[in-house]
């Protein structure tokens, strides 16, 4: 397969948007194209992550209308759906087509507009990414799934639940600290000095997950221009290369051997490391799917950055901060930056690229700029997992 590079990136302000989804996606795409210095006529295909557009705006087939909104002509435009990992599925598919030699340049990204649905209906539609036949009638929600995982984490590692909750809270404190410094984040200038007690004492959504253990509902879009690596330097002096990609699938909760060790995530991360020829020790920074605080801990262990049961202490100890063993979610993550579910995977890649260019907001920028970065995106209750390993130079 040919090497694939990211030559342009775009990202709307996350939070509440007045624009419609297609406008948000066009904003992110045009920004990415301007960043790359490419013209509309150079784009050969479009891959768009969008999880719930039918419920949000009564729109299915949004990718075709996005291509039309940008006057891209009759090029193939495909919606990719993997719940909260939709954009990562879109990026992976787009990169596959470029890697295969079918296209030289594509747009890949995602969009979501969830806030207008309100908490009750949004929770209903998000829960559609649970297993409808068995988890549907139970009334399981996503905070509920991760609450079950948090309780199991406490049992598996013989750590009192209150202790687990404190360590989980340190994820929220860290990610809000970084989100508050990020002008594109939903919680920019907000919650930057959150305390562990604030997280623990906020109201239960699904016991033991509190409101401040959760990421918010969000609107937003993010898009990338992907191009074959041999062409990339025609457009930019700083292409970022996709060195490894992984994707894994899970199933109903009841078929999982252990909620704290989802095989889909382990398998996807391994796939990405294998393709990149790298291991966790080589990676300088991560953007991981912290939809809930416990999710960040589980992600770090599944990806091999910490041993089983050790991400909790490491996080509370500052090992996932700048200067620690591996800085995680310097963008604010889903918790601080917001989580427009169809866009999140592209947003994660955007912030890794920003870090590698030395363009992350002051206070969040890692110095020296990272050589290798990695993203982790999760859809559903471990149903769809994607990983990307990015580098400033080719393998």
């Amino acid at each position: 397969m040919r090497d694939v590079a990211i030559i342009g990136i775009g990202h709307t302000k996350f939070g509440r948007a007045t624009k419609m989804s297609h406008e948000l996606f066009s904003d992110a795409t045009l920004q990415a194209m301007d960043d790359a210095g490419v013209e509309l006529k150079e784009i050969e295909a479009l891959f768009q992550g969008a999880a719930l557009p039918g419920f949000e705006e009564g729109q299915v087939m949004p990718a075709a209308f996005s291509a039309a909104d940008l006057n891209l002509g009759p090029i193939p435009a495909t919606r990719c759906e993997g719940a909260c990992a939709s954009a990562s599925v879109a990026i992976r598919d787009g990169a596959m087509w470029v890697g295969a030699g079918e296209y030289d340049m594509v747009i890949a990204g995602g969009v979501e507009k969830a806030l207008m649905m309100g908490t009750s209906f949004a929770s209903r539609t998000f829960a559609m990414a649970c297993h409808a036949p068995t988890e549907g009638p139970v009334g399981l929600t996503f905070p509920g799934v991760f609450a079950m995982a948090a309780r199991l984490y406490s049992i598996n590692y013989d750590m009192p639940l209150d202790t687990v909750r404190e360590k989980m809270a340190s994820v929220s404190v860290k990610n809000h600290r970084h989100g508050a410094l990020n002008p594109l984040a939903q919680f920019y200038k907000k919650l930057g000095d959150l305390k562990v007690e604030d997280v623990i004492n906020s109201k239960f959504v699904a016991d033991p997950i509190t409101l401040l253990d959760c990421c918010p509902f969000s609107d937003g879009a993010s898009a990338l221009v992907l191009c074959s690596a041999e062409e990339a330097r025609k457009y930019t002096d700083e292409p970022i290369y996709i060195l490894g990609m992984g994707q894994g699938s899970g199933g109903p909760l009841s078929k999982m051997a252990d909620l704290t060790k989802p095989v889909s995530r382990i398998s996807s991360a391994k796939m990405a490391f294998k393709q990149a020829g790298l291991s966790p020790e080589d990676i300088d920074m991560l953007e991981v799917h912290d939809c809930f605080t416990i999710a960040e801990l589980i992600a770090l262990e599944c990806m091999g950055f910490f041993d089983w049961g050790e991400a909790a202490d490491a996080t509370a100890d500052g090992q996932t901060e700048i200067g620690g063993e591996i800085p995680v979610n310097m963008s604010g993550g889903l918790i601080g930056k917001g989580h427009p579910i169809g866009a999140t995977g592209a947003s994660q890649v955007y912030w890794v690229v920003k870090q590698m260019r030395g363009e992350a907001p002051r206070g969040n920028q890692i110095d020296p700029v990272p050589e290798y970065g990695m993203t982790d995106t999760l859809g559903g209750d471990f149903g769809t997992l994607c990983h990307f390993i990015l580098g400033r130079s080719k393998k």
């Binding site: 209903r124 409808a132 068995t134 009638p137 009334g139 399981l140 929600t141 309780r151 009841s254 078929k255």
Partner: protein
């Protein structure tokens, strides 16, 4: 002459499902946890799948589980999805059955008293919960309800 006899094509139509999801739900309503026994590995699949959940075996026959098991984990939902407002607070749970497979259901327990010490307790099937469903659920659906027995 090319083309296939339509009667022959009709005869070839067959389902691959030994136990449908609807039958599984009916079983729960009757107080039975139904599953499938694999002829290859002898293990039990529950909820039903078209192949064995352990070895992907294709030769399955219906069986009834004891309905007993161990509480693996649970949560107490305080902020529900639309349609579940009247149930709050309620307790989704994951139960590992005596026979091996895990099942997701509801735990019949006082939500204000439910705590971490419940985990690992023995539970048994004590009833069924049928949610009224909504425009998106394809009708009503039923899940098992468990109670703590020790």
């Amino acid at each position: 002459m090319v083309g296939k006899e339509r009667e022959e094509m009709e005869k070839e139509l067959k389902g691959y499902t030994v136990l449908t999801h609807a039958e599984y739900e009916e079983g729960i309503k009757e107080g039975k946890l139904l599953g499938l026994r694999c002829a290859s590995c002898k293990k039990i699949t529950c909820h039903p799948m078209p192949v064995c959940q352990w070895c992907s075996g294709r030769s399955l026959e219906r069986t009834e589980l004891s309905g007993e098991g161990e509480l693996m984990t649970f949560t107490i939902i305080r902020v529900p999805a639309e349609g579940f407002e009247d149930d709050v607070p309620y307790i989704p749970c994951l139960v590992k059955t005596k026979e091996g497979p895990c099942v997701v259901g509801r735990l019949d327990y006082d939500a204000e008293r439910a705590s971490q010490v419940l985990i690992s307790k023995q539970v048994k099937l004590s009833g069924a919960y049928t949610h009224k469903g909504d425009k998106f659920s394809g009708g009503t659906h039923t899940c098992p309800v468990f109670e703590v027995i020790g």
